[in-house]
Symmetry: C2
Subunit: 238 residues, 2 copies
DNA sequence: CGACCGTTTGATAGTGCTCAATTCAAGTGG
DNA sequence: CCACTTGAATTGAGCACTATCAAACGGTCG
């Protein structure tokens, strides 16, 4: 059997509370299930889509982790986000019918393939789905604004603290430990996302470790003092 | 007559080719016109909506210019964009039913008020409208990615060059001169948008002027050598 | 005309970058 | 099983770029 064409069912998916189905009723959920016709597995380093690819579908991460990045004509690139289970990839492609960024798996991963014309169809029939989809896009815009704030007005320590708290919170929402993080991305990728060089990321990790805020062993990071991170991000608060 | 309730008609609006109506047929256009029930005028410095306000409508800029900004608990803020005629404000509010940023008029301005539930209603009836709205949100996400790239990987000169080219291009699309810009925002607001301090913005303007790339007289900026700006943004190209 | 806000310019300090060497972890092949 | 390779992470030294602090200038509007 073609592994790229596995029958799926949102109804039974453990990500119901995080992914597209959030807040849908039984009947709506079944309609959504029908929409998702296939899954796709990717190995670490494999691309899901690339800048310039024709846009046809959105992707919901089932397990694993991705990064998205945009690139300039002269070779520089910028990581625009890291996506984990239940999060949606591909919204960038709607505007021009072509993807405007690359999505790459940071570890062996799987996504649900959601043909976009079906999202549109279903949105017209089910107002709940429509609203939900609109909210999803809006939240992506708000998230991007948060990254702009980070890139435009925070210093290196604040950026890394904000990054760690964000990852921690998203892991907790998925039932994982919020204090013990196994980072799936390199220092360079973190640096690109945070607008820093990899050496600065590494140095800042070491500094946090010296201060007793973190325990860092390569990609295994333990948050020993989450409040200290919170203070860094929000100096005046508390 | 209440000036906040002026009857409008997209059909006759000079922004048809830039604003929401892009690509709509005659009948669709009329439906859109019905949706826009009022306009609102704002004086320079006046707020259109603020962080925390209940979200109910989108706004299309008719004339004038706005800035949007997000702010941290500790008082820092970040300008996330400048909006000119034909551009849409308020997409940030859909996700949580509350606005997550402030929108402020940079000069005397006017917006069309577009109740959001009507956008949703009309999207269900007219697939063209639906697709158009989806594209608009997606393009906003792509725009944000561009800003992230700017903030994360460009130096001061590149940032200002990219900013000027962007403004210039948008002015041209509206039939204005693309070489003679009257900036409606302060150096501090430009700096906030570009992740720089106002002094750095001012110095970079002066540097560009010394190099013959610009002529700068306060807020009147003439682009003498657009190619030089292009080179700065895209070093390897050309 | 004066007050005020925004802008320009200068001097200095600091943060993060660059370049370079070293260490570490995990494979790979003899 | 161990030497070797490779990619990633850490650490150091010096430097570049931008921020900070401060002063002066200019335009605008009461």
């Amino acid at each position: 059997m073609d592994p790229s064409l596995i029958k799926v069912a949102c109804v039974n998916c453990s990500l119901r509370e995080l992914c597209l189905p959030v807040g849908l009723q039984e009947g709506e959920l079944e309609k959504l299930s029908e929409m998702v016709k296939s899954r796709r597995r990717l190995k670490r380093g494999e691309g899901l889509f690339s800048n310039g690819d024709t846009f046809a579908a959105l992707y919901a991460v089932r397990f694993g982790m991705f990064k998205t990045r945009v690139n300039t004509a002269d070779g520089r690139d910028q990581v625009t986000g890291f996506q984990m289970a239940g999060e949606i990839l591909g919204l960038d492609g709607i505007g021009t019918d072509h993807h405007t960024c690359d999505a790459v798996a940071l570890e062996d991963s799987e996504v649900c393939v959601i043909p976009f014309d079906q999202v549109a169809d279903l949105s017209r029939t089910f107002p709940v789905m429509q609203l939900h989809f609109h909210k999803m896009m809006s939240r992506e815009i708000v998230r991007d604004h948060g990254v702009m704030l980070l890139l435009g007005s925070m210093r290196a320590e604040e950026r890394l603290a904000a990054f760690l708290l964000n990852i921690s919170q998203r892991l907790r929402a998925r039932g994982f430990s919020s204090s013990e993080l196994v980072l799936r991305m390199t220092r360079e990728e973190i640096g690109s996302y945070l607008g820093l060089k990899l050496e600065t990321v590494s140095r800042t990790f070491s500094k946090f470790q010296d201060e007793g805020i973190l325990s860092v062993q390569q990609r295994l990071v333990q948050i020993l003092d989450p409040q200290a991170l919170q203070h860094l991000v929000n100096p005046e608060q508390c």
